[in-house]
């Protein structure tokens, strides 16, 4: 059990780690407790790093030892809440140690010169990891709450949204993000839908709760839309309405929102993008907000293209009958 965590390593423990009451425990007790530490996002990395260092130092003695299996997928998903740099170093060190240990064995056995190849492999891996980690960074560097961006008024296109969503479904909920004070959420609920509103501005959600006659009937989750979408299982929503965030964020995040919305929408369900008319956007924003927002609204024609490219079918564009929001919608293939 817990080979290699018995205090032999010189690598210090996680700075600030809480180990109250553990000092002086016997080696097998330390191993028992360290087995749990390896289950933490940082702990598993620490163990992997220690394991890698040991393999480099003593490649001949670890031939039969199982390699570190790597972080479970769910822990990678938590990357933004852990220190990515630390993960990165540990992961790369683990790979390089594997390669170098294997090469050392191979060199000793066959006197071959494969070390250079192995190093290049490791560097290629490193470059790929940098790209993957950069792509995994939250593409919304400024949250809505940090900018003087008011929540969009979704009452204008409410009729359009209802007709695009089709017949009400009491099974899976429809998601509306960003929903502002929940006016559209309330409207869809009255029409018979189960609705989950997402809104990053707590003040807007408060207004919705305050005006909710049926206390507790209005469902608004206070969160950034992209982050929330990532927590939803596939095909778990009857439809998704995107507003506000689709204007504000950069192109990569716009595409991310669309991909996530398509992923969580069940087959046959609609993905509706409510895009602000560009001239209205420029008029409505104060200069700092306009300058600092990572993105600006796309033309509806561009959304048509993106929705088609994302695999949605029967893509349509409805111009605003009132207000400033264009509705562009497509349906997930059945």
């Amino acid at each position: 059990m817990a080979e290699g965590v018995d205090g032999e390593t010189d690598i210090p423990a996680e700075p600030g780690a809480v180990d109250a009451g553990r000092a002086g425990a016997a080696a097998d007790e330390q191993a028992l407790l360290a087995a749990f530490d390896r289950l933490s996002p940082q702990g598993s990395l620490q163990w992997g790093f220690d394991d890698a260092m040991r393999r480099i130092a003593h490649p001949e003695t670890d031939v039969t030892a199982p390699a570190w299996p790597g972080l479970p997928d769910d822990l990678w998903e938590r990357g933004r809440s852990a220190r990515i740099g630390r993960r990165f170093v540990g992961d790369v060190a683990g790979v390089m140690a594997e390669v170098l240990a294997a090469d050392a064995r191979a060199t000793a056995a066959a006197a071959s010169a494969g070390v250079n190849l192995a190093t290049w492999d490791a560097l290629r891996y490193l470059a790929a990891r940098v790209e993957a980690l950069e792509a995994a960074q939250d593409a919304v560097p400024l949250e809505a709450a940090e900018l003087s961006l008011s929540a969009p008024d979704l009452t204008g296109p409410a009729d359009e949204v209802e007709s695009l969503l089709g017949s009400p479904d009491r099974g899976s909920p429809v998601m509306v993000g960003e929903c502002g004070d929940g006016a559209l959420v309330h409207r869809l609920q009255e029409s018979g839908w189960r609705v989950e509103g997402i809104e990053p501005r707590a003040a807007s959600a408060w207004r919705g709760f305050d005006s909710d006659d049926d206390q507790g009937g209005l469902v608004i989750v206070i969160a950034e839309v992209l982050g929330h979408l990532r927590t939803v299982p596939p095909a778990a929503r009857a439809g998704v309405v995107l507003a506000g965030c689709v204007d504000r964020v950069g192109l990569a995040a716009k595409i991310g929102l669309l991909e996530e919305a398509s992923r969580v929408t069940r087959p046959g369900g609609a993905v509706v993008v409510l895009a602000t008319d560009q001239s209205a956007w420029d008029r409505a924003l104060d200069p700092p907000a306009r300058d600092l927002a990572p993105g600006r609204p796309l033309h509806p024609e561009t959304w048509l293209l993106l929705l088609r490219r994302s695999g949605l079918t029967d893509v349509v564009w409805r111009r605003p009958s009132s207000g400033v929001l264009h509705a562009v919608a497509g349906w997930v293939r059945t």
Binding site: E14, P15, G16, A17, V18, A20, G21, R22, A23, G24, A25, A26, E29, L32, L33, A35, F36, D37, L39, S40, P41, Q42, G43, Q46, D74, L75, R78, S81, A82, R83, A202, A203, A205, W206, F209, Q215, G216, V219, I222
Partner: protein, 368 residues
């Protein structure tokens, strides 16, 4: 209430009906209103279960009065603290436990940062407060070291006194579900790293491998840190404890009381406790306790259970085994626990806080 207080309003980042800070806040609000003092609860963020009882904190500006007292419940970080630090009304800092950031560092850096922020808020608000209220001497010492000049200790309000009676049917149902001869260990608290439930699992593993092959453990809590909660389940499975460990969440106060009554021992190995509500609940229900001496644990228990200075798996397993095999000693500790429960004066906690407000000096009219 003294002549210098117009209203006493409570500020809490988020009001949860079922956590210790939430219950405390609601109990203090009720005690203030019963004493004829206008009191409302203001929050930074709404909770759907309590939104009808709270208002956004910025709303306070519309009804502020120079003779108001603002009581801030400090347990985690909030922008509300920055706003409070600039207010001219008298500030009372009600200090609950701030979990050390290091407890969360390897599990959730976002929460670790949040707790770091809370410690910084404590440094800013403590010198500014006209009164610091702590639920333990341990927390009061933190207040003083942060610069609070005037402190008092009032236990957490909102704990049921007398203890909840689960009734015979519920006790029988819980007992029937326990299975096996036991002993049955109980651990109560959020499934978060600072609660160190993993140490309890390790101790159970040793106990079953040595003296108590049929020992079981029930973990009552909620998955406030999902990565940690998931790791607990994987750890239990990896140690072959899958059938011996039960995770229980979302139960009523009555069922929790039944769990205490049916347990042979409460094992609490937290790395940090500012008060330790489960200790008090266990003492009230007559459940023997084995606890690690961290934070306020020794002070709150005060002889009402076994206090460990180390929590190696063997040490914990041995302490539990010794306690359960020595009936007279166990009975003595249970009786001492009951006396300690009474001595804490939990039924008067909210009123004691209200009385303390009555001794505040007149408002100065400007932030100090």
């Amino acid at each position: 209430m003294g002549p210098n207080v117009n209203g006493a309003h409570l500020f809490v980042p988020m009001l949860h009906r079922n956590d210790a800070v939430g219950k405390h806040t609601l109990a203090v609000r009720d005690a203030l209103v019963a004493a004829g003092v206008p009191s409302q609860i203001f929050t930074d963020r709404p909770d759907s279960q309590t939104v009808g009882e709270t208002r956004p904190y910025l709303d306070y500006e519309k009804l502020s009065d120079p003779e108001d007292v603002l009581i801030y419940q400090l347990a985690t970080d909030s922008e509300m603290a920055v706003w409070l630090s600039g207010r001219s009304e008298r500030l009372v800092l009600n200090h609950h436990s701030i979990t050390p950031p290091a407890c969360f560092a390897s599990w959730n850096n976002a929460i670790a940062r949040l707790q770091t922020g809370a410690l910084q808020r404590l440094e800013v608000l403590a010198p500014r407060a006209v009164l610091g209220v702590a639920d333990s001497e341990f927390n009061a010492a933190e207040l003083r070291s942060a610069g609070c000049r005037n402190t008092t200790v009032v236990p957490v309000a909102g704990i049921s006194v007398p203890p909840v009676d689960p009734g015979p049917d519920l006790i029988e149902r819980v007992r029937a579900g326990q299975g096996g001869p036991g002993p049955h260990w109980l651990s109560v608290g959020r499934w978060a790293p600072n609660k160190a439930h993993h140490d309890t699992l390790a101790a159970l593993f040793v106990a079953r491998a040595t003296t108590e092959p049929h020992a079981t453990l029930t973990l009552v809590g909620s998955a406030t840190e999902p990565a940690y909660a998931g790791a607990l389940r994987r750890y239990a499975a990896a140690l072959g404890l899958g059938d011996a460990v039960e995770f229980v969440a979302g139960i009523s106060d009555a069922e929790l009381a039944a769990r205490y009554r049916c347990a042979d021992v409460l094992v609490m190995l937290s790395d940090h406790e500012g008060f330790g509500v489960p200790l008090v609940e266990a003492m009230g229900q007559g459940t023997p306790i084995v606890a690690f001496d961290a934070g306020a644990v020794g002070e709150v228990m005060d002889g009402g259970g076994v206090l460990l200075q180390e929590k190696h798996p063997r040490a914990v397993a041995g302490a539990v085994s010794q306690l359960l095999s020595d009936r007279p000693r166990r009975d003595r500790l249970v009786e001492a626990g009951r006396q300690r429960f009474d001595a804490l004066g939990l039924d008067r906690a909210a009123n004691r806080l209200v009385e303390a407000l009555g001794h505040l000096g007149a408002p100065t009219g400007a932030p100090s």
